[in-house]
Subunit: 271 residues, 7 copies
Amino acid sequence: MDGDLNIILGKLLKILIIFIIINILVSLVGKLIDRGLKDRKITNIYSSTNRANTLGQILKKVIKYVLYFIWLITSLEMFDINTGSILATAGIGGLAIGFGAQSLVKDIITGFFILLEDQYAVGDHVKIDRYEGIVEELGLRVTKIRDFNGELHIMPNSTIQVVTNATRGAMRALVEISFSYEENVDRVMEVLEDVCNKIKDTNENVLDGPSILGITNLAEYDVKVTIVAKTKPMEHWNVERQIRKMVKEAFERENIVKAYPRRIVFGGEKQ
Amino acid sequence: MDGDLNIILGKLLKILIIFIIINILVSLVGKLIDRGLKDRKITNIYSSTNRANTLGQILKKVIKYVLYFIWLITSLEMFDINTGSILATAGIGGLAIGFGAQSLVKDIITGFFILLEDQYAVGDHVKIDRYEGIVEELGLRVTKIRDFNGELHIMPNSTIQVVTNATRGAMRALVEISFSYEENVDRVMEVLEDVCNKIKDTNENVLDGPSILGITNLAEYDVKVTIVAKTKPMEHWNVERQIRKMVKEAFERENIVKAYPRRIVFGGEKQ
Amino acid sequence: MDGDLNIILGKLLKILIIFIIINILVSLVGKLIDRGLKDRKITNIYSSTNRANTLGQILKKVIKYVLYFIWLITSLEMFDINTGSILATAGIGGLAIGFGAQSLVKDIITGFFILLEDQYAVGDHVKIDRYEGIVEELGLRVTKIRDFNGELHIMPNSTIQVVTNATRGAMRALVEISFSYEENVDRVMEVLEDVCNKIKDTNENVLDGPSILGITNLAEYDVKVTIVAKTKPMEHWNVERQIRKMVKEAFERENIVKAYPRRIVFGGEKQ
Amino acid sequence: MDGDLNIILGKLLKILIIFIIINILVSLVGKLIDRGLKDRKITNIYSSTNRANTLGQILKKVIKYVLYFIWLITSLEMFDINTGSILATAGIGGLAIGFGAQSLVKDIITGFFILLEDQYAVGDHVKIDRYEGIVEELGLRVTKIRDFNGELHIMPNSTIQVVTNATRGAMRALVEISFSYEENVDRVMEVLEDVCNKIKDTNENVLDGPSILGITNLAEYDVKVTIVAKTKPMEHWNVERQIRKMVKEAFERENIVKAYPRRIVFGGEKQ
Amino acid sequence: MDGDLNIILGKLLKILIIFIIINILVSLVGKLIDRGLKDRKITNIYSSTNRANTLGQILKKVIKYVLYFIWLITSLEMFDINTGSILATAGIGGLAIGFGAQSLVKDIITGFFILLEDQYAVGDHVKIDRYEGIVEELGLRVTKIRDFNGELHIMPNSTIQVVTNATRGAMRALVEISFSYEENVDRVMEVLEDVCNKIKDTNENVLDGPSILGITNLAEYDVKVTIVAKTKPMEHWNVERQIRKMVKEAFERENIVKAYPRRIVFGGEKQ
Amino acid sequence: MDGDLNIILGKLLKILIIFIIINILVSLVGKLIDRGLKDRKITNIYSSTNRANTLGQILKKVIKYVLYFIWLITSLEMFDINTGSILATAGIGGLAIGFGAQSLVKDIITGFFILLEDQYAVGDHVKIDRYEGIVEELGLRVTKIRDFNGELHIMPNSTIQVVTNATRGAMRALVEISFSYEENVDRVMEVLEDVCNKIKDTNENVLDGPSILGITNLAEYDVKVTIVAKTKPMEHWNVERQIRKMVKEAFERENIVKAYPRRIVFGGEKQ
Amino acid sequence: MDGDLNIILGKLLKILIIFIIINILVSLVGKLIDRGLKDRKITNIYSSTNRANTLGQILKKVIKYVLYFIWLITSLEMFDINTGSILATAGIGGLAIGFGAQSLVKDIITGFFILLEDQYAVGDHVKIDRYEGIVEELGLRVTKIRDFNGELHIMPNSTIQVVTNATRGAMRALVEISFSYEENVDRVMEVLEDVCNKIKDTNENVLDGPSILGITNLAEYDVKVTIVAKTKPMEHWNVERQIRKMVKEAFERENIVKAYPRRIVFGGEKQ
């Protein structure tokens, strides 16, 4: 019986020691998290010290309770109490939470690679899925994009697949010009060539061109010719507007006729 | 045989002790939940004390039965009865429930991050998926959005992916003006410039502009020019309506011709 | 050899005792289910005592066979027969059933939260996915919605994501009025203002307005103005019909011209 | 050595006993299945005794081989041969089959609830997904729907989500009547009122109405008024056809002008 | 030391015995497969003995290597070498293969039920998803459908969900007849009645009807009446073509005017 | 202490022996792979010996490291070091890789069945999903299809579901002929019959027909008749073009009037 | 008690030894990664030494902590402390991370096969899903495609399924020519034949053709003939533009009439 008592006391001692170790661990992790929170980068990602603190408190609590749970199981185990059923119960709960938290992990992994591979930076003009605009904030979990009309799109990084970045290298201005079938193609080309040259000389945002691609469509009622120019990033819309204005004025000057839709009408018999 | 009886008695004692501990645990958890329910925040999320109480009762019962189940398994285990088959049966049931409850966990995690990152607040005008309106309630599990036409959209948070918030910073009013090809572009621009200046001087909701972007489309039968203005949040629709009215009046005054669809009609032979 | 026999007899006794316990459990669960079935609420959910009884019988049988299966495994185990392969076989079957039953669990959990959070009640007018109508029955597993055309939509609760409820608070009547470009906007506004005032005075279903938003579209061939009114729930369609009728009569009286589609036709050369 | 032999013999005996037990089990299950097959209901579900028998034979064989497999593993185990690798191999195969059979289980569970909750019965007119018609057969695994054009849709029950049943309660006949803007709305209403009254008096399939909702649309070139009537199930199409015929005749009689699409045409300059 | 040697020798003997047993198993399974391949049905499913043989060889090799792998693990186990890591490695590989093979299992299970429930047979005209045609081959893994334009659709059975079979019972011919608003409905009905009667008398493929449903649409510029007839399977297109031809001839004979699209044109002022 | 040393030495010996066995295994597998790579078929699948070699080197390295890992675990195990945590860590990594490799396995299984069942061969004209063209390469992992416009579609086999093969048996040429309502149907039929007979006599690519199906549509402004012909594979487009040309010429010759869209125009009052 | 102390000391020694081994492992792996980073290829994939270093530091830290965790568990295990609960907790966390990292693994596997099978190379013109352009960078994790309009699409390799490569072999220029029904087909063919011959003689980018396919459509108001030519890769757009220009000029020269949409107009009665 003495031995039994000894064993029990030994076990209780062990449990106490583990308890102390776990408490040390808890406070250690707590300090680590506190130090981490002062790190400028993490504060940046959560936009305010306040919010980062909240998250830190929650993280600390979660780790504390997990460690206490481990201590509880270990202690019970020592007195030959089968903890399989407790572990199974906790495991199913844990799995449910794990599955739920899955997209959180995916957010962070995707966010990390966007940062590492520098897919876009704050200020870039991007298209992601059907959202388009200027990147305003790029965090580990979400990306914020400011649409041209002022709306703010907040996207979890895990929803980001293909990123289309419009501020990486020169852009291309593309204007399709329409005129009627009666016009002489060569004459129209000459007029457009003139316009292109004028723009080339005066607009410093144009890097290459504008040049005429040729007849890109023999459409239902008009001939279509496409003008193309390489421009500085984000300047292609301006260049397109300039090309449109100058072509319209040149066509007016040169009497090149605008092609409106046409119909050939036959008179049927009186019904 | 004596030893056997001793052992059996010892085991029964153990079972009794565990039973008492579990009952204490049950009542402890019960009190914890009760105290939590009085917390103002949780009551807020469930909009009424009544509903929060119902949920509390259910939570208490679930925890009670889970603890009793663990006690049962532990007791059986002590008498060398293999509980693997019971655990397996319970495990499959638990998994089924766990998978079913998965989206509940996802609701709460997503809800938590929306709150933490302040993606939107009550009163904000948001677009989520194809639902749009004013946020009326923002809970851990569901978000309620009031559509402009009065309908109330109730969305589980787990269905929320990209959030578009229209009350974070200035919005942009965008009006496309159409006139016919015969008009002189420069003269039209002057008239529009006048309208823009008048609005800039009188409308205090306009932060920047309105200004003219240029010719944004040489369309089938009309020239299109776009006017853009930065406005206070939620005021862009008002500004757009004002621009439209003033442009219409200016065009009437200045005899700038509205472009209706055009057709060139050829007479074919009598059929 | 004696000891062996003793051990075997002991084991057989154990098996018998467990068998008796399990039979008691079976009848206990049976009574619990029977008592539950008399509960008014469950009968409500299944719309008839009859159907609830059928479900009860099935539940009782399932529990009975599961308990017998556990008894079988435990007994075999006692005679040192490895039951791993039996458990594995049963486990795979159980998993298959568990996965199949998964959406059943999801039905019930979603149904429970719809009830708890009072997302809609019998008699509410709701839109769920592409189904719309009056809620006729709201059960744990399915929701029944009566379409305006009389069809009954039966939806498992797990298919319900975003709920749009049109009976929570005031609705908005929205009518877009079209007139031709030749009309003077201010005069049309006056006429519409008159109509709005008349409705405001006479229709008690209108809570706020009707008022005119302004020019909401300068369309291809007409100017569009929108009238908006806050109404009691489910009365917005009536109010819209009244606005339409009164605007039509006012326009006739005041000779405000309806805008039909317009074409400018040029005569081309004879082909 | 003697002991060893004894032990081996004992084990062989055990294996033999288990083999006999398993054979008894096989024949027991066989008889159970045979008896089940004579059950009228199961035969119904598989439409013919023949097909049910085929399925029964397969089920019997599967159970037989599974039981023999369990016997094999148990026997090997007794001679200290580790069967983990065999079980693992079988387990992976079993999982693959289990996943494949998953939708079979889902078919049966869904089918069971359709039957229990009486979502539709043979002869009902239902819409499921994009399939519509009269239910011709309602089994545990598949539902057969006869389209109006004679095609037979065979749907596994697991593909059934929202069921739209058109034979549960009264249906609504809905006819939209169009007339031109020049007509006096009050006079048209009177004519339609007359038609409604005549139908109310003569058509016994109409339960309530027909009545006029009011102006439901001020369209591009016509005014639209909607007539609504409650009818017996499946009679709404007939009532709609009758309303259409009588309205057409009344309009002819009363010289209410049909509204054809309108265009205002301006002559442009000769091009 | 002697005992040790004895034990080792005993173990080696055991390994040898198992090896022999496994070899016997391998050749047994090989013969079983060979016999199976001669079975007419399996050859049918794979369309040629040649292809079935190839599949047989692969199956035999797979089983052989799996059995040798089990023998290897069992042998290692006997010399106290922990095989957990080997099993884990093999298990992950096996799982990957199992998941990949999953749709193969689903093909076969779905194929089996299509055959058992006789959902369609070779020669039937079916629609599955967006593929339509005559079933040309119906195997355990794939179904081959010959489109009317001659293309052969090869569908894995697991992609088959809802089957629409057009050769199960009578089909319905549906022709919508259009005439202008000026026509007297009763007179048109009489003419159509005549056509229907003539077809009823002469066309033996028509089982019931043709009959006139009534006015099914008061469309933009024409009145629409629908004729319906029950026909033998696959004859509905022929009947529809006959109805169309006879109606066209009857309308010509009776001077019932075809309704072409209509426009009311107003002359606007010269622009 | 001596025994201890002996045991340790015995264990080290064992570890050495296993190490040697594993090295032999590594070189054996290496040779097997090398021999396999010389196999003409595998080289074919990877289009070049070079690429196959690269893949071989990688496969060899993977197997080598897996075997060394197994050796490491087994050795540690012998010195009573618990390797559960290492195995768990490796297992999670392995699972992640296994899930990632899943579609690779699916590629190969699908590719194998396409080859075995001869669903298509190099040179066949196939449609898979929305890709269409001539099969240019058919490997275990990917299928390459050359589009008619010259683009090369490279499809992983796992993305292939329904295969539509246009080179298995006769194709059908389908031409829809349109003429106006004023034409006599019987006369048009005669003219078309003539064209059909001429083609039947002269075009040897036509296997059956061409024949006239009858009136397949009474459309808005034209009557539509369909001509159908069975042709050799890939010749149906040629036959269709021939039918079109000959019908056009026959209609011109016989003065059968082309049906252009029609409008009935009413003059409204001056607005 | 001495033995106990000895055992404890022995265990502590073991733990120390394992700790030293693990530290050696950590520094070994560190050096391996450092050496790997100097490898030119890996630096290429991550476009800069800088970024590769960052990734290397992270990889080193992860491996270090995993090894320390294994050491911790092993040490605890030695003092009979059950680590099951710790492992389970870590396992669930690990699974969540594993699932999140899954698409990272898929990126790399897919990227590897694209490189190995040379599906596309830098400079190729490819279409992937709805993204099209010139491949600018091809890494293990992402592919970068430069759109013609200058935008840069950054695609994770796991989103790449079917690759359409337009720079593998000759391309086909396809131009559809439209003319009116009054033209004689044979004469038009002759004119087009002339154009084709001229292009064949002068344009060296044309490999085969251009040739005329025949009448590919008898459309609503025009006859359509298709011209096809085999060209060098990426030259087909140029050839198409040349064909269009030359056909337009030839048609003008030969007075072949452009087919504009046609209407037959009947005058209705005055309304």
